[in-house]
C-alpha cells in the first residue's frame, strides 16, 4: 500500500517535471529574434548564421527541437550561452556546488533552530515568550529576503558593527567556502527567511499533540514531563512538520536568487540574474529547469516522508 502510494506520487512528479520542461521550452518560441544572430552579433555573415542555425537545430520544427533539447538535458547538454558563446554547463558547474553549499548551511541552521523554538513556544502557550515568538514570526515572515539581507549588512558589515564582509570575494581558482566568514551573512539571511514558517508549523502541531489523549494518558501514568514531550509528543508532531520543512527547503532553491545577487555570491542565482539582464535565454532555461527540478524533487521527498511517517498507513500494510 505504501509502495503503491509512493509510486503514484513519483509518477505525478515525473509528469510535472515534463510539463515544466514544456513551459520552459515554450519561452524560447515566444522570444522575438533569432538566437543564432544574437550569439554571432551584428557583423555575422549569412553563411555563418545559417551554419550556427543548423548546429543549434533552429532549422527544425519546434516539436523536434523540444525533444532534442529534452534529450540533451539528460546527457548534461544544457545548450549554448549567447553571452559567452560556450556551453551552458561550463558556466554553471561550479556555481551549482556553491549554491548547494549555501542552501545546505541555511538548512542546517534553520531546521533545528526552528523546531526548537516552535516546541518551546508550544510548551509556553499564551505566555509572554510565546507571544513574543508569534509577533517575531509574523514580522519576519512578511519581510522580503532583500530587506532582511540589507538589515543584516547594515548591522554587521557597514554601519553598526564592521565585523563581517558585505560581499563575497571569489578569486579565480578559490572556492567560496575557503573564506568561511563570507558565508555567514548570506546563510543567516536565508535561514531567517525560512525559520518563521518552520516555527509556526511546529508550534501549531506540537500544541495540538500536547492536547491529545495519549499525551494526557502518559501524564496520568506518571511518565516524567520531559519524557512525555520527547518520547510521546515530538515524534507525532514531526510528520506534518516535515512537509512544511521540505517546502521551505524547496523554497530555498528560488530564494537563493535574491540573496546571491545581494551578496554577489557566485552561485546559480546570480548567474540567473546576469542571464536575464543579458537576455541569455538558454542559460535562463537551464537554471529555471534546475531550480524547478530541485523544487519538485524536494517536495516529492517531503511527501514520501509524510507517507512513511503516517502511522495509519504504516499499520495498514
Amino acid at each position: 500500500m505504501i509502495a503503491k502510494l509512493i509510486l503514484k506520487r513519483l509518477l505525478v512528479s515525473v509528469f510535472i517535471l515534463l510539463a515544466v520542461s514544456v513551459v520552459v521550452f515554450a519561452a524560447t518560441l515566444l522570444l522575438p529574434g533569432d538566437p543564432a544572430r544574437a550569439i554571432l552579433g551584428q557583423q555575422a555573415t549569412e553563411e555563418r548564421i545559417a551554419a550556427l542555425q543548423a548546429e543549434l537545430n533552429l532549422d527544425r520544427s519546434p516539436v523536434e527541437r523540444y525533444f532534442l533539447w529534452l534529450g540533451g538535458l539528460f546527457v548534461g547538454n544544457f545548450g549554448t550561452s549567447s553571452a559567452t558563446g560556450g556551453p551552458v554547463t561550463d558556466l554553471l558547474g561550479e556555481r551549482i556546488t556553491a549554491s548547494l553549499v549555501l542552501m545546505l548551511c541555511a538548512a542546517l541552521i534553520a531546521v533545528p533552530v526552528g523546531l526548537a523554538i516552535g516546541i518551546f513556544s508550544a510548551l509556553h502557550r499564551g505566555k509572554r515568550a510565546d507571544q513574543a515568538v508569534t509577533w517575531g514570526t509574523l514580522t519576519l515572515a512578511a519581510l522580503p529576503e532583500f530587506v532582511i539581507g540589507i538589515a543584516l549588512v547594515t548591522l554587521f558589515a557597514t554601519s553598526v558593527f564592521r565585523i563581517l564582509p558585505a560581499v563575497t570575494m571569489s578569486p579565480p581558482g578559490q572556492q567560496v567556502w575557503e573564506i568561511p566568514t563570507q558565508l555567514i551573512l548570506p546563510t543567516l539571511t536565508l535561514a531567517l527567511v525560512v525559520i518563521p514558517y518552520i516555527i509556526r508549523m511546529m508550534r501549531a502541531t506540537m500544541a495540538e499533540v500536547m492536547d491529545s489523549g495519549f499525551v494526557e494518558m502518559a501524564r496520568l501514568k506518571g511518565v516524567p514531563e520531559r519524557r512525555v514531550i520527547l518520547r510521546h509528543a515530538v515524534p507525532h508532531a514531526i510528520g506534518p512538520v516535515a512537509q512544511v520543512v521540505a517546502i521551505q527547503l524547496a523554497w530555498l532553491a528560488g530564494g537563493v536568487v535574491v540573496v546571491e545577487y545581494l551578496f554577489r555570491y557566485p552561485g546559480i542565482g546570480q548567474a540567473l540574474i546576469d542571464a536575464v539582464t543579458y537576455r541569455d535565454v538558454q542559460v535562463v532555461q537551464a537554471i529555471s529547469i534546475i531550480i524547478a527540478a530541485v523544487y519538485v524533487v524536494v517536495n516529492l521527498l517531503a511527501d514520501i516522508v509524510g507517507i512513511l511517517a503516517n502511522p495509519k498507513l504504516r499499520s495498514a500494510s
Partner: protein
C-alpha cells in the same frame, strides 16, 4: 438567496469610523463588522496603523515631493552621494527625499493589481474545480501543480527575459503565480459549502451554475479569501520590490523604492539614507499587511465558530 443575509458579508454594515457610540459588541445573530473585529485585536490594530501610514505616504508622496524638497524625483540636486538636503543625494545626484516620497505609488499600484488578478483567476478556478469535481477538478488541479513547481520569482524572471520588464508583465506574472495558491484555498472553501442545503435548494430550482457560484457559494467563502488577499498582497509587494531591487522590475529613471535600493546600495556605508528609507518603508508596509492578514484570519475564524 435569503440565506446569504444570515451570514456576515464583507460589505454589509456601517464603516468603522463614527460608530464608536455604545453598540452591542457581538451578538449571536449578527456578528460585528469584519473591520471592527480586526481592530479589536492587537495585531489588527498595529497592522492597520502601519499599512494606512505607508499607503498614505505612497499616495500623497508624489504630490508632496516637489513641494517639500524643492526638487522633482528626476531632477539633479547636486553631486552624487552628498549629504545635502534632508536625506542627501543619490547615485546620480538626485534628491533622495524627493525620490523616496514619489517611489511608493507604482509599487503599491502594481501589487494591488497583481493581487486582484490573482484573486479573480484563483477564485474562479478554485470555485469551478471545487463545485464541478471529477475530471474538471483533477485537470485544473494538475495544471495548478505545474505552476506551483516553479518558485514564483523564477517564473517571473522567465517571463521578463521573454517579454521584457514592462509593468503589465510584472502584474500579470505575479498575479498568475498567485492564482494556483489562491485556487487551492478557494477550492477547499467551496468543498466546505457545496453540500449545504441552500446550494442544494438552488440546484433543485435549476438555477444556472454560474449563478449558483456567484450568488450562493462566493458570498460564503469570502472569509478565507480575504485572508488570502492580505497574505498575497504582502507577497506581491515583496515580489515586485524584489524584482525592482534586482534591476528587472521598474526601470530607470522611475522613482521606486526597490529600484532606489539597487541604485544606492554601493554607497550604503557613506550615504545610507538612499537605501535605508526605502528598505524601512517596504518593511513597514509588508509587516503591516501581514499582521492585517493574520488578524483577518482570526476574525473570520471566530465568526464561523459562532454562526455555525
Amino acid at each position: 438567496m435569503s440565506t446569504s443575509d444570515l451570514k456576515p458579508s464583507a460589505d454589509a454594515g456601517p464603516p468603522p469610523s463614527g460608530t464608536t457610540d455604545a453598540e452591542p459588541k457581538e451578538s449571536a445573530t449578527r456578528p460585528a463588522h469584519l473591520l471592527k473585529r480586526v481592530w479589536a485585536q492587537g495585531q489588527g490594530k498595529v497592522g492597520i496603523v502601519l499599512t494606512v501610514f505607508i499607503v498614505a505616504l505612497a499616495l500623497a508622496g508624489p504630490l508632496l515631493a516637489p513641494v517639500l524638497t524643492g526638487y522633482s524625483p528626476t531632477e539633479f540636486a547636486g553631486r552624487p552621494f552628498q549629504p545635502e538636503g534632508i536625506f542627501g543625494t543619490d547615485n546620480l545626484g538626485r534628491s533622495v527625499a524627493s525620490r523616496f516620497l514619489a517611489g511608493g505609488l507604482l509599487l503599491l499600484l502594481y501589487s494591488v493589481l497583481a493581487t486582484v488578478l490573482g484573486l479573480v483567476v484563483g477564485c474562479v478556478v478554485g470555485m469551478i474545480a471545487g463545485y464541478a469535481g471529477g475530471k474538471t477538478d483533477s485537470v485544473l488541479m494538475r495544471l495548478n501543480d505545474i505552476v506551483l513547481a516553479f518558485p514564483q520569482l523564477v517564473l517571473a524572471l522567465l517571463a521578463i527575459v521573454v517579454l521584457g520588464p514592462e509593468g503589465w508583465v510584472l502584474v500579470t506574472v505575479i498575479g498568475l503565480t498567485h492564482a494556483p495558491r489562491i485556487a487551492r484555498v478557494a477550492r477547499a472553501a467551496t468543498l466546505g459549502v457545496v453540500n449545504e442545503d441552500y446550494v442544494r435548494a438552488a440546484q433543485m430550482y435549476a438555477v444556472p451554475r454560474s449563478r449558483i457560484l456567484a450568488r450562493e457559494i462566493f458570498p460564503n467563502i469570502t472569509g478565507p479569501l480575504s485572508v488570502e488577499a492580505g497574505l498575497r498582497l504582502t507577497y506581491s509587494i515583496g515580489a515586485i520590490a524584489s524584482l525592482s531591487f534586482l534591476g528587472l522590475g521598474m526601470q530607470p529613471p522611475t522613482a521606486d523604492w526597490g529600484l532606489m535600493i539597487n541604485e544606492n546600495r554601493i554607497a550604503l556605508s557613506i550615504q545610507p539614507w538612499g537605501v535605508l528609507l526605502p528598505v524601512i518603508a517596504i518593511a513597514v508596509l509588508t509587516v503591516g499587511t501581514n499582521l492585517l492578514a493574520d488578524a483577518i484570519a482570526r476574525a473570520t475564524a471566530s465568526t464561523t465558530v459562532e454562526s455555525s
